[in-house]
């Protein structure tokens, strides 16, 4: 096996690190990806995990819940190790300050120097990126857009969480923790890989055109020429007061080739505008969505990936916290975990997902043959 996963539900960081090391210690780890409950002190968990894998490239982030093979967890640490049979090479770069406009270019300069190939000519079937971003930064959209402008290589990933406290989230690398930051890992896998982007919604064919927005604040002021809250409430068939109860089941989506790129409502403001967990561009036509069956859709996606690759040796699953909450509400958390039984899987409940752009209420997965 070239990809193995581990997890620990111990309470103390030293016990966690020993537990993970006991499970992975014999493995010749080139890259370790780990996700840690926000209950663990960020500097300490990052340092001790890196210290126990001193020669490995290590990346990770804090979470709103963890996923390990067959289970949705809380208060744990999960880890996936890749050896040289899985990846030919990996380079990790840190964007330490997301407001630094030059930081991404510097990171890409470093990738190009390491691999000896311009990012613009890298074959997206031979290279793949993993991105983990501070989930409270509101910087994901610009970062993904700039990455997409500079390369055809797909960067897939998620926004770090903090167990629904919304105070501070962290990304981890090189034994440290960082806020207002992003970690980018550019992999040259030896194994074939593919992506899953799955969201469980049907398009209700009710158009909400963004006629006025403050894109930087992720705020829609008007849909269809009306105050956003009015237009949304009318579309879902309820009052403005009751509309927040519909947010989870009825987000909106930018439909691209029949597939929604979901934008989840966050709140209605005093002025009748709506904020979202994702930037919404003025002039965009969004569709009102209705939730469907997460279990069925996720299972179908895994089967399709399996058919495409022939077999699956590892999955990194970044699953929106809103999906996790919905699964728990419906008592389906165990059913969801079981979808991954037998497939080495790690992941976390995220504050946003990245695949081509920044999206919500989606699971984005990197799947290895």
């Amino acid at each position: 096996m070239d990809i193995i996963s581990a997890y620990s539900t111990k309470d103390a960081i030293d016990e966690i690190v020993k537990d993970i090391n006991d499970q992975l210690g014999f493995f010749d780890t080139e890259l370790l990806v780990f996700f840690a409950s926000s209950k663990f002190a960020p500097d300490e968990i990052s340092k001790k995990i890196q210290d126990s894998f001193p020669v490995s490239q290590v990346i990770g982030c804090s979470t709103a819940g963890e996923i390990a093979q067959g289970k949705l967890l809380n208060n744990s640490v999960v880890a996936m190790a890749f050896n040289s049979g899985a990846i030919e090479d990996v380079k990790v770069e840190l964007i330490e300050d997301l407001s630094d406009q030059a930081a991404l270019k510097k990171a890409f300069d470093s990738f190009e120097k390491h691999y000896g190939t311009p990012m613009g000519t890298m074959d997206p079937q031979k290279y793949v990126g993993i991105i983990l971003v501070d989930g409270l930064s509101c910087a994901e959209e610009n970062l993904m857009e700039n990455i997409g402008d500079m390369t055809n290589v797909i960067f897939i990933g998620g926004s770090a969480g903090d167990d629904l406290q919304f105070k501070s989230t962290y990304v981890y690398t090189k034994g440290k923790s960082y806020s207002n930051a992003a970690v980018l890992a550019l992999l040259k896998p030896k194994k074939e890989f593919t992506f899953i982007k799955t969201q469980s919604f049907r398009d209700l064919n009710k158009v909400l055109e963004v006629t006025k927005a403050d894109e930087a604040k992720r705020e829609v002021l008007e849909f269809n020429g009306k105050p956003a809250a009015v237009a949304y409430s009318e579309a879902v068939g309820t009052t403005i007061e009751e509309a927040p109860k519909k947010f989870m089941t009825n987000p909106v989506g930018l439909i691209i080739e029949d597939e929604p790129y979901v934008r989840s409502p966050q709140q209605i403001t005093g002025s009748g505008s709506m904020t979202f967990y994702c930037s919404v561009l003025e002039g965009t036509e969004l569709s009102l969505l209705e939730s469907t069956d997460i279990i069925k859709d996720t299972q179908k996606s895994i089967v399709q990936a399996q058919e495409q690759l022939g077999s699956i040796s590892g999955i990194i699953n970044i699953n929106c916290i809103l999906r996790t909450l919905e699964l728990k509400q419906k008592n389906l958390a165990d059913d969801y975990g079981r979808l991954f039984s037998g497939l080495p899987t790690v992941g976390f409940s995220s504050y946003g997902e990245q695949y081509i752009g920044h999206i919500n209420q989606t699971a984005t997965m990197l799947v290895f043959k």
């Binding site: 990012m119 613009g120 857009e145 402008d149 390369t151 055809n152 691209i256 561009l281 081509i356 752009g357």
Partner: protein, 63 residues
């Protein structure tokens, strides 16, 4: 001069996709996420400086 947006979109797709249909879908998705739907522009479409600036940046940024 009308049609510049269409010409830029066509150039980007040509520059980036190398006749790969999967890549073409990804590039078109990137454009739509920027608020630029390739299907909505023709050689008669009026120029929009904001859209043109976004497209020129995308063309120039490919490393």
């Amino acid at each position: 001069m009308p049609g510049k947006i269409k010409r830029l979109i066509d150039s980007i797709i040509l520059q980036r996709t190398h006749d790969n249909p999967m890549l073409e879908r990804v590039i078109k998705t990137k454009l739509i996420l920027k608020g630029i739907n390739p299907n909505k522009y023709t050689f008669e479409s009026e120029d929009d400086p904001i859209i043109i600036a976004k497209l020129e940046k995308m063309m120039n940024e490919l490393r």
